[in-house]
């Protein structure tokens, strides 16, 4: 029931962000770049998606960041509810797959 409620409320922006994460754009800036949305839209939307348990965040291990001489990043990934909601959203927004395709992300 909760998933159905979330699905009904999901905006196009939120659906795009879910699609971007699903496609492998797993941190804020890459989602911004892919969706073309400004930071003031993307990050608050991700907070709400995380609150609704559609995505989950995790800090990158410090050792990996140190090896690449950069600060560690916070990565996001879809939860089971998030995947179900995204699946429902794809039916609602049929162009979502074409906007952000999985292949594009994997080629990066």
């Amino acid at each position: 029931m909760l998933a159905m409620a979330a699905e009904a409320k999901l905006s196009h922006t939120a659906a795009m962000i879910l699609q971007a994460i699903s496609a492998g754009y797993v941190y804020g800036f890459s989602i911004m770049e892919m969706t073309g949305l400004p930071s003031g839209t993307v990050y608050p939307a991700m907070r709400r998606l995380e609150r609704d348990d559609l995505i989950r965040s995790q800090w990158e291990r410090q050792s990996i960041a140190d090896a690449e001489q950069r600060p560690p990043r916070k990565y996001y990934k879809l939860t089971a509810d998030g995947r179900a909601t995204l699946e429902a959203s794809r039916k609602r927004y049929p162009l979502l797959d074409r906007l952000i395709s999985t292949e594009e992300a994997s080629s990066r």
Partner: protein, 499 residues
Amino acid sequence: MKSPSEVAFSVLQRGLLSGAALLVPSCDRDEWRREWLAELWHVRRSCISIDETFSLDSQREITGFCLGAFPDALCVRNLSDRTSAPPAHMHGSAAQTLLWLFVILLLCLLVTSLLPGVQAENEAARFQIDRNVLLISEAAASRTKPSIPADLYRGWKKTPQRFFDNLAFYRVRRETADSGSARICWNVARATANLFPTLGLPLTHTAETGSDLSSIVLSHEAWMRSFGGDPRIAGRILRIGNASVRIAGVAPAGAWQLPGSPDVWLLEPDAQIATEVSAKTPGYLFAQLSARGQAARTSPGITISARDPENIDIDLSGTPLTEPVEGPWNLYEFALFLAFIALPAVSSVSLGETHLTSHRPSFKQSLRRFLFLGAKFALIAGIALFASFDLAYWYTPNYSPVAECVQLISCFLVCLTGFRWALADQRHRCPVCLRRVTNPATVGLASRTFLGWNGTEMICMGGHTLLHVPALPTSWFSDQRWLYLDSSWQFLFADTGIY
């Protein structure tokens, strides 16, 4: 090497993030800041060209990215506000009630510590005039009016006395004093130097005068009124009339009983009293009973037959000056005792322990319940003590019997109403979790009491109990009843925590 423009933009961008971070609740701030700084590092790397030449467009893009931190910070704040709202179980909980009572107690204590009148009452109770000191006055005259001529005092002082050890004398006159900054009109008592030792009152805030100037002793009231209770007042030089005098100390608040309402006592040697005060000038005479006098005394007051300097028989009376000052603690104990005695008259002392089911709270739950009630009573008793001080001495910085009376009455009333509230509050607290039961629902109709019952039902928000309170006590339903809810009810209550 970075150009100054780049440095300026970098500072601006970090400043924007720091400013936005202030909007984020402190518990989330570090992680939020860490994420945005990491993202900023990647944004910079992406936007700034490889040769690192300064580009205004790039910097504008990075700054735009940083401006997005503000909506994000506000979003985090809003989400945090919703999730950090006080949990339902805190409302009306035992801990919350005790916390409020404790805060009230602290506030009352704080106000009390700022009121000088409370110290004055303590002092008045501690330093009282020696009960063997009598005020000698003409039998026919009022003891509040001066009636003993100075000549009589001198005569008695010269002759050996069998019943009195010490004699002290003063007369009161209105005089103007100059404290250097202001001119004050005072009731100045020109007194013999042995006045305070005779009365058995030690001076407070004293200092060694060590000079030829006459000494004065301020009354507690004048000290508070004219010098704001300055503890370093001793040693200051004033002018009274045409003479300079030095303040030797302050009379304790217990001196309020001395007649004539003196503001200051100007202490003078006997020789000066003899030369400066005319023979007929009436004043107040104090006599300290000797051991023989104490043995001969059969009642608090005595009558004396004497002869005046013109050898005419006069009737004198000696009355003790000591009027009992109960002191704050004695009054408090008395008010507390009265409140406990009066409590059953204004409230039922029953805690409404009747249960509809055979379920009984465990020993631990019962103990916790009574400890909570005891803590409420203790905190209310403390509040009553300090609140009564505050009410009694709010307007006066000095001890007075009226303030003492206000203290007694207010302490009694606060205790009585407070204890009554504590019992009523206890009757509406779930025996399991000590929360107040809520959501009252009226059940039944008064016109159908014969077949059922009518009253109010309230439920514990933890889902432990249901309270039935009859609107009309009947022979079969006279007191409130608790119904313990089993676990099948729990799913209705999101919050099952206790306390």
